[in-house]
């Protein structure tokens, strides 16, 4: 199942009534239990693409199949709300969407909108809070009296409490310190491995991409320019044209290969590099 894009185009209307093509005939399938990273320059259409994944934007042309629903809706009676429960979308800087008196109530907002009773919603909220690593005692505090990193956890818990099958994240680590960013990514990896959630995330950080993503999409000018695994991405001929950086460990490996003539092997994380170097040294 998952999400299927079928020749999807989307136009934005400009100031002078000209239209600006944000997505250009995208055909794409995201299956269940995938971990997909979307990269690309600013303005390449990443955010527009993910907003189609939970029907926030309707395609100008083409169709999006979200689980059993087809967007634009054929049957006018189908509600759009339930579709959004399936695919949880976390925006950039999600901490701005908090509004309730207490953190617990804010996390409960989503499940309650989808028709759960207070009791059920509270249960789900407590589970989600535990999942993102929020302490029990913090739940009765105001969401405006905690640190920025904590606020982001609360916002993500608010989406997780809806128990979506797919979690779509727009630059979830932006503006976080390295430690916070690592913890955040570990959380998503846990959701993926332990809870079998499908994860789609937009990021510019190639270290994150190459460490976690099983599949990488690179977008440019509204088109998907690359779709494949990290092993292929850094070796493609067009890599230079994609305006991406290589991960740190990969660059270190290239440097060592050039200066010390250590035979080249694709490594993506510092740990991999270290084990490989130990291997080479022992030989």
């Amino acid at each position: 199942m998952g999400i299927q894009f079928n020749q999807v185009s989307y136009f934005y209307r400009g100031v002078k009534n000209e239209s600006y093509e944000a997505l250009n005939q995208i055909t794409l399938a995201i299956n269940d239990h995938e971990f997909v990273a979307i990269c690309g320059q600013t303005g390449s259409g990443k955010t527009t693409l993910v907003q189609h994944m939970n029907a926030l934007l309707m395609p100008t042309k083409g169709e999006v199949q979200i689980y059993e629903h087809t967007i634009p809706l054929k049957n006018k009676k189908t509600l759009i709300g339930p579709i959004r429960k399936k695919v949880g979308l976390v925006f950039q800087f999600p901490e701005y969407q908090l509004f309730e008196e207490t953190i617990l109530k804010d996390i409960m907002f989503g499940p309650k909108n989808f028709g759960l009773s207070d009791k059920e919603a509270e249960q789900k909220a407590r589970n989600a809070a535990k999942l993102v690593g929020l302490d029990e005692e913090i739940l009765q505090k105001s969401p405006f009296r905690i640190s920025g990193g904590q606020m982001r956890r609360v916002a993500i818990a608010g989406i997780l409490a809806m128990e979506p099958d797919m979690l779509v994240l727009d630059e979830p680590t932006r503006g976080l310190d390295p430690k916070g960013s690592d913890e955040m990514m570990a959380l998503f990896n846990e959701l993926h491995v332990t809870y079998h959630k499908t994860i789609v995330l937009i990021t510019h950080d190639m270290d994150i991409v190459s460490r976690y993503a099983k599949r990488i999409l690179v977008m440019d000018k509204g088109k998907v320019k690359f779709d494949g695994t990290r092993e292929i991405l850094f070796l493609t001929d067009e890599f230079e044209k994609l305006h991406l950086a290589k991960p740190n460990a990969y660059r270190m490996m290239e440097h060592l290969n050039k200066t010390l003539n250590i035979p080249f092997k694709q490594v993506f994380t510092e740990e991999e590099l270290l084990t490989y170097l130990k291997e080479v040294y022992h030989e």
Binding site: N17, R84, Q97, N113, F144, M162
Partner: protein, 324 residues
């Protein structure tokens, strides 16, 4: 959300962009005074024609400007109906008997329900709205069965002229003022306002602060709109769908929009204040300008033209000159 065009600057390079902001502000004031002094419908129509020619000559996207005025539609229709009913002088144009009857009331209710049902799927919503208003009156005239009340409906020529006069006036005022904000950058607007209001400094009026406040307000309308639509999308992802929820739910959901927007605007204000202070902004202090405004021939000619027009209208009003 995207229909709101107030406070946006549209880039261009036609003659109006080359004008001095001070001249534009004075010209706007003169233009508004003229609009409110115009004595008759015919002159108002000529004035509207002139304004339209001017708007087209600036090369602004005309249709988009019109679309930005959709919000006025309801107000305009309302004034129109009130005026038509109230004024009973001049020659009679139409006279029919109107019936408030079982059949016509039922038909009107059915029509309104139908309109609300199909509203979302109509492309030209404003035209649909206007035609619904017209049909409501037609129905009253042609469905007399089961009569409850009968009244006379008549349109007089004066009524038509007076309403047209009012509509044109509102239209001109909105066009002129949006022309200023569309074609003047906020910094220019700020400088212009400050300079125009300088004489008020004599009575200790905080000219610089007021003009800064005004231009910041204008500048932040589109930004806040953008933030609002972002928050709306974020809350939509948490199950807030205004078109699909009950009234009771809607009230709770509006709070989920209002509070974040409040917080964002306060945050923005704080950031802005810090940024201004970091660049040495001190309230009430003397400041130099990077751009020195100069009146060009274009500005002088425009102002002279408008002053001439104004004196003409005043002369018409006082009866020195008779038109038509």
């Amino acid at each position: 959300m995207n229909n709101v065009t107030i406070g946006q600057y549209i880039h261009g390079d036609s003659w109006i962009y080359k004008m001095d902001p001070r001249a534009k502000i004075i010209a706007l004031v003169l233009g508004l005074v003229i609009t409110f002094l115009v004595p008759s419908f015919e002159i108002m129509a000529i004035l509207l024609g002139l304004v339209l020619i001017m708007v087209i000559s600036t090369g602004l996207p005309f249709m988009r400007m019109i679309r930005g005025m959709k919000a006025l539609l309801f107000l305009l229709t309302f004034t129109f109906i009130l005026q038509i009913f109230n004024i009973k002088t001049g020659t009679q144009l139409i006279q029919t008997n109107m019936y408030l009857s079982v059949s016509s009331i039922a038909a009107i209710i059915a029509l309104i329900i139908l309109y609300n049902l199909v509203k979302k799927r109509i492309k030209f919503r404003s035209i649909a709205f206007l035609s619904v208003v017209v049909i409501i009156f037609v129905l009253q005239a042609y469905l007399p069965f089961g009569q409850l009340m009968k009244y006379e409906f008549s349109i007089y020529s004066d009524g038509l002229f007076r309403t047209g006069f009012l509509l044109f006036r509102i239209f001109i005022v909105v066009l002129l003022s949006s022309l200023l904000t569309f074609t003047t950058m906020t910094t220019d607007l700020n400088n212009g306002l400050e300079s125009v209001m300088k004489p008020l400094k004599v009575i200790r009026f905080p000219v610089a602060e007021i003009s800064m406040m005004l231009s910041l307000t204008l500048r932040f309308i589109p930004t806040l709109m953008e933030e609002t639509s972002k928050i709306m999308k974020a809350q939509a992802s948490r199950g807030v769908e205004f078109s699909e929820s009950t009234l009771k739910k809607k009230i709770g959901q509006i709070i989920s929009l209002l509070i974040p927007i409040f917080i964002i605007s306060f945050k923005r204000a704080e950031d802005l204040a810090n940024a201004m202070e970091a660049r040495g902004y001190v309230i009430g202090d003397k400041r130099t300008k990077i751009d020195i405004m100069r009146f060009a021939w274009l500005d002088i000619v425009t102002l002279c033209l408008l002053a001439g027009l104004l004196s003409l209208v005043i002369l018409l009003n006082t009866g020195v000159i008779h038109a038509f």
